[in-house]
């Protein structure tokens, strides 16, 4: 399958400011996270893929077309912006029907799609209320609905959980998961929240200072490591002393003893130290990586 979205040496400079530099990555079917802190170049990348700006160098391709050369590729592309972008005086139903037509759907089909998509985002009961009366969570769902109403192949979501309370965030992440994994609509999710990526994405592209720092499946970043975590309720110092005496590199982080590069010999040493001291074991588990580690440890390549 050819990639849905392809950046090849994609570069964008604003005068002397480098927004994006030689970025090369692909987005395939499924949910791909575009992760990076503010100013990393995420919004610039989205604008380039939407064809709203031209690259300084390199190329961006969306669904096989160069978006800054033709607008036709946008018929199968959806976009949910981070900022407020909804009219307040019309109902969600009217607004979505109009947006479906602006995406090229005939009026009768636009009406059916509107009803379907409002049901999927959980707003079918509220469809005849003015958007101005909606809560932040509901408005966010309308924003997602307008990006999906024309049944795109790929949808670009820009910080979709921004401004939501924990409940609203859960609902939005659930919707994104369903859209990407059940509806069959691929997603590129731009966010600075690693939790959002861990919850929804299959792959991640990490941007830092306008460059691709890392790229790969999310599972690769969150798989089990060789670091062993030993959490005991008491005897911390005694257990640590015995481990060190047996040549096991051990550091203490609060209640947890951290053992790097743990193999069978280190596990035997832990067993013996616990037996000898009589320390009460609460948890013994390998450390699983998180996306936070990417930024803590710096780029390492995958």
């Amino acid at each position: 399958m050819p990639p849905l979205l392809q950046a090849a040496g994609l570069t964008k400079h604003y005068g002397s400011t480098i927004a994006l530099e030689d970025a090369t990555f692909d987005v395939h079917e499924g949910v791909t996270g575009l992760l990076g802190p503010n100013g990393a170049g995420k919004s610039t990348a989205i604008k380039l893929f939407l064809g709203l700006i031209r690259p300084t160098a390199g190329s961006a391709e969306v669904l096989g077309t160069k978006p800054y050369e033709t607008v036709e590729g946008r018929t199968r592309l959806g976009y949910m912006p981070e900022h407020e972008c909804l009219p307040s005086s019309v109902t969600a139903s009217e607004f979505l029907m109009h947006m479906a037509q602006v995406s090229g759907l005939p009026p009768a089909h636009a009406r059916t799609r509107t009803a379907d998509i409002l049901r999927h985002v959980g707003l079918d009961e509220e469809r005849y209320r003015s958007i101005g009366e909606y809560s932040t969570g509901m408005r966010q769902r309308v924003k997602l609905a307008q990006a999906l109403v024309h049944d795109p192949v790929l949808v670009l979501l820009d910080e979709p959980t921004a401004g939501l309370d924990p409940g609203g965030r859960e609902e939005m992440l659930d919707l994104i998961n369903r859209t990407g994994h059940s509806f069959g609509i691929s997603i590129m999710l731009s966010t600075h929240l690693m939790g959002d990526i861990e919850r929804t994405a299959d792959r991640v592209v990490v941007l830092e200072d306008g460059r691709v720092a890392q790229e790969g499946p999310v599972s690769q970043f969150t798989k089990a490591t060789t670091t062993l975590l030993v959490e005991v309720d008491d005897q911390h110092d005694e257990v640590t002393r015995l481990l060190l005496a047996n040549g096991v590199t051990t550091t203490r982080q609060g209640q947890v003893l951290v053992i790097m590069d743990a193999g069978d010999a280190e596990l035997d040493a832990v067993r013996d130290a616990l037996a000898e001291t009589g320390a009460r074991l609460r948890r013994l588990a390998p450390h699983r990586g998180t996306l936070t580690d990417i930024f803590r440890d710096g780029p390492r390549g995958v």
Binding site: K47, L50, L52, I53, V71, E72, G73, R74, T75, L77, Y79, P81, H83, E84, C85, L86, P87, S88, S89, V90, E94, H98, M99, Q101, V102, S103, G104, L105, P106, H109, R113, D116, H120, Q146, H150, D151, R178, S182, F183, G184
Partner: protein, 328 residues
């Protein structure tokens, strides 16, 4: 026992089942850019006429529609009493001038509605990521407003034409003698509608609040016309004459207060320039011209036409440029 429940039919087996089909992919037609343009056009028309919105949104367009028709209806009623041949009533050439104030008011109030809310609420960002260009969006909105202004301009003229024909002693003779009025009012109406549309819409591209745009447009038309007519008005010397033993003062050697420059200053009045072009289309002269129109008669016909061209093409270019440089 619940009386309602007891009335319900009792069934031994389920009568139907509800299935959730889940998400259905869309495999219907996709009409691309042409559908997008049509959607924006019709949305613009509905927005101006208040269709699909509360009763309040319909009051202003309805009032303005009635007001632009009203003079035509009154003239036809008078004609039906006094009959053909009475020349004191305004004709098709004068009609656009009579309703010009209403049209400007309509343009100033309603035209910004098509641009400013989309900019203010940032809905424009959602349009520009769909299969249209910013020029498609702007032109569809301009076309929507111009269509409504055309309906306003033409409807009064049509009522007047029908009235003139029906009240004529020989209707068929009247049509044969005055057939040119129809293409003329169509052409003049088109030019007037263009003018009423593009200037307020160009102003609206700079504003995010409709009220500011409306106030600016009203100021531009009204204050401009007032000042220009002041500058082009005539001052005269007074000459004393004795008449039947009484001394009377008579105005002589009248000339505009700004002298020779008056004829060019007159072009700065947007309303008077558009009306000057209107009378050129009808190949007639206004019987009761404003000072600015009187002054501009000194000029070759091509000059007011050129000025009108600038007053419509420049705002169109401004609209195009403003949307071309729009970034989300």
């Amino acid at each position: 026992m619940d009386p309602v429940a007891s009335d319900l039919p009792v069934t031994s087996s389920p009568q139907g089942e509800v299935f959730d089909l889940g998400y259905q992919r869309y495999d219907g037609p996709r009409e691309g850019r042409s559908r997008a343009r049509k959607a924006i056009y019709w949305d613009g028309v509905k927005l101006v006429l208040g269709i699909g919105r509360g009763p309040k949104a319909k009051i202003l367009p309805l009032l303005l529609f009635i007001s632009t028709m009203f003079p035509a209806v009154v003239f036809v009623i008078i004609l039906s009493f006094v009959g053909e041949g009475e020349n004191f009533l305004p004709g098709p050439a004068d009609y656009n001038g009579i309703i010009s104030f209403l049209l400007i008011l309509f343009g100033a109030i309603m035209a910004p509605e098509l641009f400013t809310p989309d900019r203010k609420d940032r809905v424009l960002d959602l349009y520009l990521v769909r299969p249209i260009t910013s020029t498609d969006y702007a032109l569809a909105r301009v076309a929507a407003f111009m269509s409504i202004v055309l309906v306003l301009v033409y409807s009064g003229q049509i009522v007047l034409q029908v009235g003139l024909i029906l009240t004529a002693v020989e209707p068929w003779e009247y049509i044969k003698e005055n057939w040119e009025d129809t293409p003329r009012f169509m052409a003049a109406g088109f030019l007037m509608a263009m003018f009423i549309t593009v200037i307020p819409m160009a102003v609206a591209t700079f504003m995010t609040r409709r009220a500011y745009a409306s106030a600016f447009v009203i100021g531009l038309f009204m204050v401009g016309t007032f000042v220009v007519n002041g500058l082009t008005s005539e001052s005269c010397d007074a000459e004393a004459r004795s008449e039947g033993g009484r001394i009377k003062l008579e105005a002589v050697d009248c000339e505009p207060v700004t002298g020779d420059a008056a004829k060019y200053i007159a072009l700065l009045s947007l309303i008077d320039t558009s009306l000057a072009v209107n009378y050129l289309v009808f190949d007639k002269e206004d019987d009761d011209p404003s000072p600015a129109m009187l002054a501009s008669r000194e000029l070759h016909d091509a000059i007011p036409i050129g000025a009108y061209g600038l007053y419509t093409l420049i705002p169109l270019a401004v609209i195009w440029w403003q949307y071309r440089r729009t970034r989300i």
